[in-house]
């Protein structure tokens, strides 16, 4: 089972929901794998302090042109849809940061002048995290980290998703927005939790995120964080639009203070363990059984 956590708007509480759901399930003795797919700003590890046991570089193969073989025929330049190659005077220039590593240039070069060279763009790290306190259980943990200055986050998410395990609950904590890395995170999962907050910004961005999960045909439910009575109109909006609300986390300074120190609701306040478990049972009920994965 694979559950993604997304939001549209940033800072609504994706990390909070993903980490606490993982802790609640692990506390029940269930196999849990938490994967931090917000590779631009991964934060889950701050709340779980995992011990990492493996680290793998993520590389992209970008073209290198052999000037002795290249006759400047422009085949590669004309083919590249991303403008990562350009003819500059008597040589071909390569812009690594624009390259998507499709391999077309090296395959199509009539002079065999294009070689591919792997360049690092980030890394994937895996390990284990133990819940604090007794009977807390263990979480299998993975995170992706994009290198500073590197624009392409999606290949790292793709690599992370290769680590999805059968027979356990995989929780994918996604990044904000609705762009490539988030689409890659949510694509093909069994269920998507959308975390929002009761502001006009929250509602506006929730609507964009809803369009995305509907486009991807993934079943979804909403978590309202920083909940105030009446949900600032969100309750009504969700009811009118047939959007299930699975959990409401009240707007409390105490919760914000715990979060700011890297502490978890489920570990600090036992009633939250039961609430997150109840949400998980709702997800199981809401899920269409036997959905085909991509």
């Amino acid at each position: 089972m694979v559950i993604a956590v997304a939001s549209g708007k940033g800072g609504t509480g994706k990390t909070l929901v993903a980490v606490n759901l993982a802790l609640a399930l692990a506390g029940e003795g269930l196999g849990v794998r938490l994967m931090d797919c917000d590779v631009e700003e991964p934060n889950d590890h701050l709340f779980l302090e995992p011990v990492f046991s493996s680290r793998e570089r993520v590389e992209l193969s970008v073209p290198r042109i052999d000037p002795r073989k290249c006759d400047l025929c422009r085949t590669c330049v004309d083919f590249c849809a991303f403008h990562a190659l350009a003819l500059a005077g008597d040589r071909i220039m390569v812009f690594d940061e624009l390259c998507h590593a499709c391999g077309g240039c090296s395959l199509l070069c009539p002079r065999d002048a294009v070689r591919e060279e792997p360049v690092p763009i980030g890394r994937v790290e895996c390990g284990k995290a133990k819940a604090r306190g007794e009977g807390g259980g263990e979480i299998s943990f993975c995170r992706g980290i994009l290198d500073i200055g590197e624009p392409k986050a999606t290949p790292i998410v793709r690599r992370l998703k290769e680590r999805i395990e059968e027979g356990v609950v995989n929780i994918l904590d996604g990044g904000p927005g609705t762009g490539c890395p988030v689409m890659e995170t949510v694509r093909g999962v069994d269920y998507c939790l959308l975390v929002t907050e009761p502001t006009q910004f929250g509602l506006h961005d929730l609507r964009m995120a809803l369009e995305m999960v509907r486009e991807l045909a993934v079943p979804y439910g909403v978590v309202i964080n920083k909940y105030i009575l009446g949900g600032g109109g969100l309750d009504t909006w969700c009811a009118e639009n047939g959007v299930p609300v699975l959990l409401r986390i009240p707007y409390k300074r105490e919760y914000a203070a715990l979060y700011s120190r890297g502490l978890n609701l489920v570990e600090e306040l036992p009633e939250w363990r039961e609430r997150f478990l109840r949400m998980f049972r709702r997800i199981e009920e809401e899920m269409v059984p036997g959905r085909a994965r991509t």
């Binding site: 939001s7 549209g8 708007k9 940033g10 800072g11 609504t12 990390t15 917000d38 590779v39 631009e40 700003e41 934060n43 701050l46 709340f47 083919f79 849809a81 940061e97 998507h100 499709c102 391999g103 077309g104 395959l107 199509l108 994009l146 500073i148 200055g149 590197e150 624009p151 392409k152 986050a153 999606t154 990044g175 904000p176 927005g177 609705t178 762009g179 490539c180 890395p181 988030v182 689409m183 694509r187 502001t199 006009q200 910004f201 506006h204 961005d205 964009m208 369009e211 995305m212 509907r214 486009e215 991807l216 600032g232 300074r253 203070a257 979060y259 700011s260 120190r261 890297g262 991509t294």
Partner: protein, 295 residues
């Protein structure tokens, strides 16, 4: 013309609120919302749209089953795993066009995707450009570049001295597209463990592209320990903390009601935002308008 980009690393720290407060004080500024995946600044500034256009920024492969001979050469060559059973999984396709090029039967065609809509409008403070990424479009960096180019062109054409850009969270493609070539990055930080962690990566990204940064700590009193750590971190990086804004119920309420920050705050409470504006102007070498001229 000087360009200031408001960034944060972590989402939800108050980029849009801070950007709006700067706009309110600038007197006249070109405004660009470069968070095309979750654009919110227009909800606060309520621009009157003067024109809009849709644009295409990417292509996706499509296979005509009537022409396909099921040879499999496309699937074998696709590095994105986007072709299975002679069909294209369009959300995996990155639009390189290799399958189209290799197909011996001419069964693959590249289809332009609806990228999103770009808007140009008028606010009481200046012109504004923003955009909305289309559902399923993934190339948000290109949309960001379009918004910036549109705003820059308008700013030059109409003699604006300042372009204020509201950026997106993260440090990847859309952020890089909004920050490169800017004169100043203003980082809105939040004093939480994750806020501090994300600020560090955002500062490193700005410095990677040689953009000077200023930091503003928002809700600085929700965790004094983390605020002190952010100060120390900024000090060791040689980055100035230009302002510290306490948690203000007025700002939270302003966000709920969608009114601009300085409309919502009375004199005393608005002082950190006023100080921040002066520091930003100082940072880009523009004179700050005198008090009383901002409306």
């Amino acid at each position: 013309m000087k360009q200031v980009v408001v960034l944060s690393g972590k989402g939800g720290t108050g980029k849009t609120t801070v950007a709006a407060a700067l706009v309110e004080q600038a007197g006249r500024a070109m405004i660009a919302d470069c968070d095309v995946e979750a654009p919110n600044l227009h909800l606060l500034l309520k621009p009157r749209t003067s024109r809009s256009y849709t644009m295409s920024v990417s292509r996706r492969a499509s296979i005509d089953p009537g022409l396909c001979t099921r040879c499999g050469s496309c699937e074998g060559a696709c590095r994105f795993g986007a072709i299975r059973e002679f069909r294209v999984e369009k959300h995996a396709c990155e639009g390189c066009g290799l399958c189209e090029r290799l197909c011996p039967a001419g069964a693959v065609s590249m289809q332009a995707q609806e990228g999103g809509e770009v808007f140009v409008g008028e606010t009481p403070y200046g012109k504004m450009v923003w955009a909305r990424l289309a559902v399923g479009e993934e190339a948000s960096g290109k949309m960001v570049s379009q918004v910036r180019m549109e705003a820059q062109a308008l700013a030059v054409e109409e003699g604006y001295e300042l372009l204020l850009v509201d950026g997106s969270p993260g440090i990847g493609c859309p952020v890089i597209a909004s920050v490169t070539g800017a004169d100043l990055a203003l980082m809105v930080a939040e004093p939480t463990l994750s806020g501090r962690h994300d600020l560090a990566r955002a500062l490193e990204t700005a410095s990677f592209f040689r953009i000077p940064s200023l930091v503003c700590i928002n809700k600085c009193d929700i965790n004094e320990v983390e605020t002190e750590r952010i100060r120390a971190d900024c000090f060791s990086r040689g980055v100035e903390v230009a302002a510290e804004i306490p948690y203000l119920e007025g700002l939270a309420e302003a966000a709920r009601l969608c009114v601009t920050p300085l409309e919502a705050l009375n004199g005393e409470a608005s002082l950190p935002l006023r100080r921040l504006f002066r520091k930003v102007m100082e940072g880009i070498g523009l004179p700050a308008p005198q008090a009383g001229t901002w409306h």
